[in-house]
């Protein structure tokens, strides 16, 4: 649990972060989003004291972060950044084992931990353990960066635009993997990005920042449906908000049970998003789709009317 209470940061005359209060619950993935210079990165870096806050209080599990030695505090949190910051003179395995080694774990435990992390992140030990960072692709290097951040099994993970420098396909893959990882590990993650699609895809809680203040925070769907003001609305995509919302809802939530005489038609997975369903309808000139489950069995149907129709939650 991370709690910021009336936190500000001033650099000389300029105020980078202005009296913000935030609560990040355990197991929650919070995304700080905003234009560059809005204070989102500063906010993140105040949590592990790479930047000292000027005013207010920051608590980790109820304790003030100033009560810890800086190094002790940081070793309790994972930290992943856009440039990965892998040590170029260390092998992949040694890079991942950094924090456990700082914490003086026994060598056998470090080895076991590194191996399980590498397996978890799809980096086979035999192939990657002895590679140097320069031999990795961007996506692999970022996976190593995430593995290193997770190495000492911290409750908190701070991620500063970790996927910002990757190509769109790799980025999407890693976003997906992060969600799956999070479903299993239930860390408290603070994630900074300026990419709204990424923010919407990942966030349990979306925090929109502007000029050092929080404009609005809450569940991504809540923000999409009721943006607090024009700034939030335009940042969330303006006219595209309908599509962004559709990307957060799944076919399974909107489908109808199969009728008495099922009609043949294009098939779509129940896990697909409404946005994908709409795209398929446009592409195939189809007004209805057959929804299938993981085994490929038809379990329902989705009509265009139903897709765009009454929102069941309202």
């Amino acid at each position: 649990m991370i709690e910021l209470i009336g936190v500000s940061k001033r650099f000389g005359q300029t105020t980078a972060v202005d009296d913000i209060s935030l609560r990040m619950a355990p197991g929650e993935l919070s995304v700080l989003v905003g234009t560059s210079g809005c204070g989102k990165s500063t906010t993140l870096r105040m949590i592990n004291r790479l930047i000292e806050h000027s005013d207010g209080e920051i608590h980790i599990d109820g304790q003030q972060i100033r009560g810890f030695r800086e190094e002790t505090l940081r070793r309790r949190m994972g930290y992943a950044i856009q440039s990965t910051g892998l040590f170029p003179h260390w092998t992949v395995a040694r890079n991942i084992g950094l924090v456990p080694r700082l914490l003086k774990w026994p060598a056998s435990r470090i080895h076991a931990r590194v191996e399980s992390l590498m397996t978890m992140l799809g980096l086979p030990m035999d192939e990657f353990a002895d590679k140097m960072p320069r031999q990795l692709s961007g996506g692999q290097a970022q996976r190593v960066g995430v593995a290193r951040a997770l190495a000492a099994d911290p409750d908190i993970l701070l991620m500063d635009e970790p996927f910002g420098a990757l190509d769109p396909i790799t980025r999407e893959t890693l976003q997906h993997e992060l969600r799956e990882l999070q479903a299993r590990l239930q860390k408290t993650i603070v994630f900074v990005t300026h990419d709204m699609d990424e923010a919407l895809r990942l966030a349990d809680r979306l925090v929109v920042m502007d000029q050092g203040r929080i404009r609005q925070q809450g569940h991504p769907l809540a923000l999409l449906r009721e943006p607090a003001d024009g700034f939030v609305a335009s940042l969330l995509g303006g006219e595209d908000r309908g599509l962004k919302e559709a990307a957060l809802l799944t076919v399974g939530e909107r489908m109808m049970p199969l009728g008495a005489k099922p009609l043949p038609g294009e098939r779509i997975s129940r896990h697909a998003t409404l946005r994908e369903a709409l795209s398929m309808m446009l592409w195939r000139h189809a007004e209805r789709l057959v929804v299938i489950d993981d085994q490929g069995m038809a379990i329902g149907e989705l009509s265009l009317r139903r897709l765009v129709g009454a929102r069941s939650h309202e």
């Binding site: 790479l50 190094e71 940081r74 930290y79 950044i81 440039s83 990965t84 040590f87 170029p88």
Partner: protein
């Protein structure tokens, strides 16, 4: 497997070839200068002696190496130390000052340092060590600064963010990454100082500069050539040693 180690050993042996060869030539020249008498006679047909004999060449070589080694070790300690200090957060303010001082150290001719140092430190080995130390600082300071500043800021950020202390960051990350550049600076500094040390002979620090100074004073070109030859061979030996050392660190 045994074949692979065999190749490795062969490779290692080949890399040591240059330093060993230069060192052998240097020692050979020190011990066998007398046998080159005929050659030097061609340069100096009228002199009574053509091979410098006031002191044993090996002794002069030993003193030369000693002076350069002491001055270089001090310059490395001082230069690397100062460059590290001014790249820490507490010492940032002194960075321009130290960079400038090191440059001034090199623009100041060693002869002038000697002239100033002798009245204070007296004749002998000490003033030349001071002169070499000042003269050799710049390449070391400059390269250490360049090596440290050249490190990807993301690496430093990650290291701090992971909870490394300042000392761990310096020892495990910054110095190893900057090592090749620092070593290149030390190499330049030592090589320059091997040549510069010869002027120590003018203030009574006996070394391989002795035959050169004596040759100039007595108008004996053969002596000058002998001193220059040995200093040149020493510089090549040490330089090839550094060349051997460098790739193992990158």
């Amino acid at each position: 497997m045994s074949e692979a180690t065999g190749i490795l050993r062969g490779g290692a042996r080949r890399r040591w070839l240059a330093p060993v060869l230069w060192a052998a030539l240097l020692l050979g020249a020190c011990l066998g200068m007398e046998s080159l008498q005929g050659l030097f006679r061609l340069v100096e047909p009228d002199s009574r002696r053509v091979v410098y004999a006031r002191a044993d060449f090996l002794v002069l070589l030993g003193r030369h190496v000693f002076v350069v080694a002491v001055a270089s070790l001090a310059a490395v300690a001082l230069g690397v130390g100062a460059a590290v200090a001014v790249t820490r957060r507490a010492g940032r303010d002194f960075l321009p000052l130290v960079a400038q001082l090191a440059s001034i150290g090199q623009t100041f001719p060693p002869v002038a340092v000697l002239a100033l140092a002798v009245p204070v430190l007296g004749f002998g080995t000490l003033p030349i060590i001071v002169a070499l130390l000042l003269y050799g600082l710049l390449p070391i300071v400059r390269n250490t600064l360049a090596g440290l500043e050249g490190i990807d800021p993301g690496v430093r950020e990650a290291a701090r963010g992971m909870g490394m202390t300042g000392g761990q960051l310096l020892r495990q990350v910054e110095l190893p990454l900057a090592a090749p550049v620092i070593l290149a600076g030390i190499r330049t500094s030592v090589t320059i100082n091997i040549a510069t040390a010869a002027i120590g002979a003018t203030v009574g620090a006996s070394n391989l500069g002795d035959p050169i100074i004596s040759g100039i004073v007595n108008g004996n070109t053969a002596y000058v050539l002998q001193g220059a030859l040995l200093i040149g061979l020493l510089a090549l030996t040490v330089d090839s040693l550094f060349a051997r050392l460098q790739p193992t660190l990158t």
